[in-house]
């Protein structure tokens, strides 16, 4: 055994002995760091999950898709939130957009949440009112029955297509829901089709609980006949800029240029991502405060430990230990304490993320692992150095005479 190895083993052994003698105290001290690391890692995981979730949402939609939204998204970002809802689009805008040749497809959207009842049950669900093209845009197929057509839209048929989870909730199974009627705001609608399950993830579960309705049928709820957004689709990616230009020209006939936005999915995605990363950074910073508090807990207990072991320090000094030897002994202890808390917090975070993952795509990346362990050992050093310095600076004679 080399000299250094022997030295390290001795230092570690005396640290571990003190921890095993004071199990309760060690646990409580580490708990502060545990909670801090847990909070930081979980919030980071949630942030990463949220970003993934949003990405999935957008990936559900077809390619070459551009969204026309009310409000000015650029202005909104710089002045505290997009001005959604200031204006609404109308049937007239829809017809105008349809006449633009470069636009392959225009899908109007009106959506709102309702309590949907049927069978013996009810559920709060999202209603998507649109044309038959919504199924192409959302990439939805019928599992049972059929999807509604644009003829159903014109006829204002009192029909709906529902997601399989909603069918199961209301009628016991998705299949049984076919041909039944559901009630929304005292109006009855016949279920003519059930979409295929998207399975897994929170995102798809949302669509599995959705109600799709011809947008003209939805005028019973939407008395102003407004349209909240348009999805417009280009034939090729290369045509997107030209399509955006032409769509903008049309919209400018009825609206000012700051009253609407025409955004590509990727723009929208990066905008939303940047909002969430700001929110997430703030949350993680708040969680980091608990790490600081945990560090102060470690410092506190290390001061107590030093006082309890003044005699031992004196003995070691009498036997030839240098100040540095004493300093490193106590520093190692505080690093072990906080690293122990950090590892436990990380482990707990992994367990929680494991159980949450079926519902939400949270995940822990390597960076947060490295950060958590780096920060917790850093806290051990920073908050351990003062008590350790105090121990090292004790006069040997006073220390050994201490009772």
């Amino acid at each position: 055994m080399t000299k250094t190895m022997e030295y390290i083993i001795f230092t570690l052994k005396s640290a571990l002995f003190d921890f095993s003698r004071n199990k309760g105290r060690t646990f409580l001290t580490s708990l502060g760091i545990l909670i801090g690391v847990l909070a930081v890692v979980l919030l980071t995981a949630a942030g990463l999950g949220l970003r993934k979730y949003i990405q999935q949402q957008f990936e559900l939609l077809g390619s070459n898709l551009v969204t026309v939204l009310p409000g000015n998204l650029d202005e909104g970002l710089s002045s505290g939130g997009p001005a959604f809802g200031r204006i609404n689009f109308s049937e007239e805008d829809f017809q105008k957009l349809k006449r633009v040749r470069i636009i392959k497809n225009v899908v109007p959207l009106y959506s709102r949440s309702f309590t949907v009842s049927g069978g013996n049950d009810s559920k709060y669900s999202e209603l998507y009112a649109s044309t038959a093209d919504i199924f192409v845009t959302f990439n939805q197929k019928a599992e049972y029955g059929k999807l509604f057509t644009n003829r159903d839209v014109e006829k204002r048929s009192k029909i709906v297509v529902i997601g399989p989870e909603l069918g199961k909730k209301l009628f016991g199974s998705a299949k049984k829901a076919l041909g039944q009627s559901v009630k929304i705001e005292k109006q009855s609608f016949k279920v003519i089709g059930i979409t295929k399950s998207k399975g897994g993830g929170l995102t798809s579960q949302d669509l599995d609980n959705a109600v799709y309705m011809p947008y003209k049928t939805a005028y019973v709820f939407n008395t102003e006949k407004t349209i909240m957004a348009f999805y417009i689709q280009a034939r090729t990616e290369a045509e997107i800029p030209e399509m955006k230009r032409q769509a903008e020209k049309i919209m400018l006939e009825n609206f000012d240029d700051d009253e609407f936005s025409i955004v590509e999915q990727k723009d929208l995605l990066s905008t939303i991502n940047s909002i969430f990363s700001i929110v997430n950074t703030v949350l993680v910073a708040i969680a980091a405060i608990s790490l600081l508090v945990g560090g102060i807990g470690i410092m506190n207990i290390m001061y107590v430990t030093v006082t309890e072991r003044i005699k031992e320090i004196g003995i070691r000094r009498a036997l030839g230990a240098r100040k540095f030897d004493i300093l490193s002994q106590f520093l190692v202890e505080s690093i072990i304490l906080s690293l122990f808390g950090g590892l436990a917090g990380l482990l707990l975070a992994y367990i929680i993320v494991f159980f949450v993952q079926p519902l939400f795509p949270a995940y822990i990346d390597t960076f947060s692992v490295v950060l958590a362990l780096g920060v917790s050992s850093g806290i051990g050093i920073i908050f351990g150095v003062f008590p350790a310095k105090k121990a090292a600076d004790l006069s040997p004679i006073d220390a050994i005479r201490y009772e």
Binding site: F17, A321, I397
Partner: protein, 227 residues
């Protein structure tokens, strides 16, 4: 005779409350020679422990000089003083001062952990040799608070020997032991002095103990009255 420690005109004063000064040592000069077996005798409060701490470099005098192997220690750094404590002196205390969370053998080799020089021997092997010689080999893996006082003091002496020091300072080594065990410990120190030629200074207030040494240094009220 070669001097190991020489102290010259050492004075140690403590500041008490209300600016009252207490003189623990007053103009003490003393030389310990290689191979001596001496006792430092005096009543409690005479300053004998303070003197021992100064000889062992645990404490610093207010004024005066200490020479170790004829080398002045006044300008040594804390690290150099620590190294000297580690290499040249072995302490034996009344309270044994073993570390209870380390086993007997770990206590014995503890000074070697802090050694800066390369040792010519294997500390664990040497510790076993000493334990065997002292009759405590079967206690090697025990913890100090699980063995008797006499055994603990043997462990403490074994620890003081592990670095092969030239001087052993024993502060009331029999103070916490019964008469018989105390005698055994003194005999042990005497044997070490005779066989290994180690210089031993025993600090005591018991004349019985002092009688067993060859040189008696009397200290009263911080002054050496005879040596």
């Amino acid at each position: 005779m070669t001097p190991i420690v020489r102290i010259e005109h050492v004075e140690k004063t403590y500041e008490l409350d209300d600016n009252v000064k207490f003189t623990a040592l007053n103009n003490v000069s003393l030389t310990l020679h290689k191979g001596e077996f001496s006792a430092l005798i005096g009543p409690s409060g005479s300053g004998k422990s303070t003197l021992m701490h100064i000889i062992g470099l645990l404490d610093k005098p207010t004024t005066g000089k200490i020479f170790i192997n004829e080398k002045d220690t006044a300008h040594l750094s804390d690290n150099e003083i620590s190294t000297l404590r580690n290499e040249y002196v072995g302490f034996v205390f009344q309270q044994f001062n073993l570390i209870n969370k380390l086993t007997v053998v770990e206590n014995i080799i503890l000074p070697t952990v802090y050694a800066r020089k390369k040792l010519a021997y294997d500390p664990i092997k040497k510790a076993h040799e000493i334990m065997e010689q002292f009759g405590i080999l079967e206690k090697a893996r025990s913890y100090p608070n699980r063995i008797s006082g006499g055994q603990q003091q043997r462990v403490a002496i074994a620890r003081s020997l592990i670095m092969e020091p030239s001087l052993i300072l024993a502060d009331e080594p029999t103070g916490n032991l019964d008469t018989k065990t105390g005698n055994d410990i003194i005999q042990l120190l005497k044997k070490l002095n005779e066989k290994e030629k180690i210089t031993v200074l025993i600090v005591t207030h018991e004349h019985d103990v002092a009688e067993k040494t060859r040189r008696k240094i009397h200290i009263v009220d911080g002054e050496i009255v005879s040596s």
